[in-house]
Symmetry: C2
Subunit: 695 residues, 2 copies
């Protein structure tokens, strides 16, 4: 379960979510921010009182993978453990026709053998500061949405830049409770990341798509990177010690990671928009991408290799979205949401002061969702670039906008072009990740087809984009006329600023220029008529909740560091008890049950070392921690702050977790710490590496 | 290239097509009706003058597979040759977990070994009668569309019933030039069809989806059935003799078969509707089905077997539609259509009489397509049943409607319930084809999800259908409460008439009853506001063309028997000459080139007999005959009326053939007659069967 949404781009836009139900947080629900942990619940339920040092240690041992996932430091020598499927983006990018790291796995016996990721950025949270008052203070009371949006953008850019200049740390203002609170997150950043160890794809994703989101499971979904500083392994103060026993049944465990996005507390109108408009659109798009990538992969073995990681991501997202929409289409789940919302609204209506201040919020959101429905397709096509599939158009767009935005003051730029984010933007823009002409052609052809289908063949912009040709012929022409696959060319154009863009004869630069006025226009409408309206309305609801309940809730996930607590325990499915963990021996049984055929074919290394492996070693386990996509790779930690496992999936029952948490069957699935050590030692012969873990 | 649209159901509805461009038929374009063959062109270009006997012989040797395809009699003993992929529907239905005819192939050494198809109907055209005057005479001048539609339905039902009672032959009134002409087609019908021989899937569809619609090609896409009458092999008067040499380069060849549907002569407004509305909708639906079937097939080897033929059909359609939409999105192709239409309209406008009689037609069609766009989704979901995927809902619907329609006079019934078509309807309704609970569940779950997405979770009908549950839980409940998988139960309900329906507690019968008022309502709107409006408008255009040009055009394809002529010849692709045929030896080279891996793995029989096969034997060949989906299995015939090959595909350039014919690259792809004999003798050791062909 990877937080692939970030990669796919379309799906994150306009994530608006906040506490809106009247239901109280109960059970082990919650993705808690580190500056407001549920100390009371932990003490009452588990007798556990985390010290400040414990919290600081866990926070600074946790790592965010900006490619979309989580991880943790597990040695003083900069080792970072994450999922194989989180590392996949890098494994794919460093692979070639000759050496397929993604498929075959890898182990660097010396530091010199550790290959460098072309564009991976890791973030480690250093501090959180509440800047709510400053952000809200910059927006004049009664300002129109457009003005309010601009004012907020400006003060956020200013705060981020000040913080960056003062501390040198990556500084992001995070909107929590959408207008309820704004917090400044400061991260230490690592951009020299190298691969140390990865198992074969066949054991990392054992059982493939059929077993994905299923349990019992038998996956070694883990890999190790090493963070470097100044060309040397980073010396890390905070890292997780390795638990001797690993996770045990009924043990209290914590997950410290970066859940991507939840809509758990959205209003009913917003949930129905997702159910009836957005999720069906996204699913159609995902299926379209899946078939396109399958077709491309059929062209040959090398094409199959090239498409593999993209395809995995799309299939993973498709399965996750199917689970979500199924939940939303379940009248029982929606009824709970409706009841909770009705109760809160009744409470607000019953108090004249609350009613005057907050009573209009729900209707505003309902109206904003109607507008969102009208703008959604154009926004996806033009602004998010789905009508121009593939990476090179995005590169061209970035170059065109970079020149335009650089000419503006920092506070007036699109946020992704602000000074504070410049280094991260350039890491992506100048990435040396491999470029594949034929995959780019397949994606651009499909994108132009999608554009034409959705806007119509007679649309004036479509006609200009296609220039009298069909999508396939036009895509070939556009790619033939561009040099943007060459990083030096990108740097040259970026250095040339506005003049270079104006004078460029590059076909993709020309396309990006052609599309940009319409793209910016639709983005502006989204910002002013949807995002800002919702932000203000959710701000009202948030304040109503604070007044009624106090600050007892966690905000919806925002791909920022959260702590969830829970216990290792099995569950019951169709009347059958599901055990809390599987074993490494069970993997062999599971393979046999499926005739040892793909995707249940264990790698040769496992067959060769079957006799060496202790079959009773716990392999995967479940706990009732509250997680979501983006948590992939999160460490599972015991009371002592030690590493006991690594999150890699949720069971099929957890897929409604975007909207609602159900403790009875909702389970997080992890790789057990013991199996990682066992595999490193017995299967891969990496004794020295195993010894480095936790030290 | 199978005419799978028939199976998928959604796609045939409202096929309206007629000659509307001002372009003259040229080159070897044309799907000619047998009572208006292009004698002049054949004489002038090829010096060929078919005799009445030649025409009669070819007509009565040609066979329509009502499951969606074509074929021919190739022996006096009732042998019918068609494509493996046309026979696939039957091969799948007679297969079990123990014996997979579809995958493994089959050869019946004696008549007693020939397994019977559970629901296959073959039609052989006996005569064509022009009934235009009678049909038009039944519609009063100035009648409103609803009345006109009812009147036409009634007279057609009457004509069909009269003809059937008089001749005992299946009698279909076919609408040609949509209101330009109505012809009565009479067919001899065979419903006892047994399998004689089929090769393995791996050689029938060698190269799989990647090679589909590609050329050069190396497929033995052929199989043999035998028609039985009175439990004995049918004695057939008209069958094709087997050519000794087979098709030769530059030879004049004819294709006699049943092209399913073309929109070649649609108005520009209708083409744009297809481009922007219908084709994108169908493609999304096909991708949805493809992913659903893939997912189902991953559940195990038996599930993969069960899903295989469905999956093949969906993938084939998806690729065909992609080719079509790509053609429509090509501004060059659309410009040709626009120019032709503008010229015709100018000609009509320039003549006051023509203008008064026909000038309003194009606008009427444009309006009808707007209405069609509004109704399309609901029509697909409710009337065509896409919101209730799988076969059992269709069975329930048929039973519910049968009871209701039987109570009406024949002339007032929905056409599929008229007396003339009753036997064909019952063949399907009481089919003993196997039923798979889990596939049905997957399809119904997906269908209910589609329904909910498209109509919205708050739609009152959707709420009633889901009954408070999510799609998956509701689908399981619906299937658990139905006995319709049992053919005896179907017969019992059908025999019980209206009372049995009213009293039934079967959950699917209840669902069909619940949905039927809305489904019938949307169908009525489609008939009266779209189909009838278009029929009248295309009738006007058709008459305008007759007046201007005379009856020199062929009507668009309607899954009725057509003759196309052409020559065997290669073409040039990307500057590279593509030879007119491949060889059987080339198949081994092609397999080697792809590492002998699926889908390029030749069956073991081929490897075992490699030394016996003459590698120079022509295998597949291309000709510039004008064909489309539904032509699959059509015999390719020489001047002497002999069999020289069998159509099985079109090249990728032919996929725009739905709209426009381009002789330069558009090619039909056939299996060469020599390779069928060579394979039967050398690979399969079926000497006796080979000797039976053409005798």
């Amino acid at each position: 379960m990877s937080f692939r949404d970030r990669l796919l781009g379309v799906f994150l836009a306009c994530a608006v979510s906040i506490s809106v139900g009247a239901e109280q947080v109960q059970a082990d629900e919650g993705m808690w921010v580190f500056n407001n942990l549920p100390r009371k619940q932990l003490k009452e339920k588990f007798g556990f009182e985390p010290t400040d040092a414990w919290i600081e240690h866990v926070m600074q041992s946790s790592v965010r993978f900006n490619s979309g996932g989580s991880g943790s430091f597990v040695s003083s020598t900069g080792l970072v453990l994450t999922n194989h499927h989180v590392g996949a983006d890098t494994l794919q990018k460093i692979s070639t026709a000759e050496h397929d790291y993604y498929k075959e796995g890898f182990w660097a016996k010396t530091h010199a053998d550790e290959p460098k990721a072309p564009d991976l950025e890791l973030n480690v949270l250093q501090s959180i500061e509440d800047v709510t008052a400053r952000v809200n203070g910059a927006v004049e009371a009664g300002a129109a949405p457009a003005e309010a949006f601009a004012a907020r953008r400006a003060i956020i850019a200013t705060i981020q830049k000040e913080s960056f200049e003062k501390t040198g740390l990556r500084s992001d203002v995070v909107t929590l409770y959408q207008g309820g609170q704004y917090h400044l997150y400061r991260y230490k950043k690592y951009t020299d990341i190298r691969l140390v160890w990865a198992p074969e794809f066949d054991i990392a994703f054992f059982g493939g798509d059929p077993d994905n989101f299923e349990y019992p499971r038998y996956d070694l979904d883990a890999c190790l990177f090493r963070a470097y500083e100044n060309d040397k392994p980073a010396k890390v103060e905070h890292f997780l010690k390795w638990s001797q026993a690993g996770a045990g049944e009924n043990e209290l465990v914590f997950v410290s990671g970066h859940p991507g996005k939840t809509d758990r507390l959205n209003t009913v109108a917003a949930l129905k928009f997702t159910r009836d408009v957005r999720a069906p659109f996204v699913l159609d798009l995902l299926r379209r991408m899946e078939i396109m990538l399958q077709q491309y992969g059929q062209d040959g073995e090398e094409q199959a290799r090239i498409a593999k990681e993209d395809l995995f991501g799309v299939q993973n997202s498709r399965k996750a979205y199917l689970g979500q929409i199924a939940g939303l289409q379940d009248a029982g789940i929606m009824a709970k949401k409706e009841a909770a919302e009705a109760a809160l609204r009744a409470r607000v209506e019953s108090d004249p002061k609350l009613k005057a201040a907050y009573g209009s919020a729900w209707q505003k959101i309902e109206q904003a969702k109607k507008t969102h429905a009208e703008l959604m397709v154009q926004n996806a096509i033009l602004e998010q670039g789905r009508g121009f599939g593939g990476g090179l158009f995005q590169t061209a767009r970035t170059l065109v906008r970079l020149a335009e935005e650089n000419a503006k003051p920092n506070t007036e730029r699109l946020p992704e072009y602000s000074d504070a984010g410049r280094a991260s933007l350039e890491l992506q823009l100048y990435s040396t990740a491999p470029h594949y002409d034929d995959l780019e052609l397949a994606k651009l052809t499909d994108g132009l087809g999608f554009l034409t289908e959705k806007l119509g063949g007679d649309n004036p912009l479509v006609k200009k984009v296609l220039a009298g040709k069909g999508p396939a012929a036009r895509a070939a022409e556009l790619l033939a006329g561009s040099k943007l696959q060459d990083v030096a060319e990108r740097r040259k154009i970026a250095a040339g600023g506005k003049q270079a863009i104006e004078e460029s004869t590059d076909t993709l630069i020309a396309l990006a220029k052609l599309v940009d006025p319409d793209a910016r226009s639709i983005r502006k409408k989204m910002e002013e008529q949807v995002i800002e309206v919702e932000r203000q309305a959710y701000g009202q609801i948030s304040r109503a909740l604070f007044e009624i309940e106090g600050p007892s809730r966690y905000p919806d996930a925002t791909f920022t560091l959260r702590l969830s607590y829970g216990t290792v325990k099995g569950y019951t499915e169709n009347g059958k008890p599901i055990p809390p963990w599987t074993t490494m021996g069970g993997a062999f049984d599971h393979a046999n049950k499926h005739g040892n055929k793909a995707p249940w074919a264990l790698p040769q290394t496992w067959h060769s070392h079957k006799g060496d492996i202790d079959p009773k070693t716990p392999f995967n386990f479940v706990s009732n921690n509250d997680i979501i996509g983006g948590n992939s790779g999160s460490p599972v930690i015991n009371r002592a702050g030690e590493f006991v496992g690594i999150i890699f999936d949720g069971n099929i029952q957890s897929l409604v977790g975007d909207f609602i948490f159900d403790e009875t069957q909702n389970r997080a699935v992890s790789v057990h710490s013991s199996s990682i050590i066992e595999a490193l030692k017995k299967v891969y012969g990496a004794e020295a590496l195993a010894a480095e873990l936790g030290k």
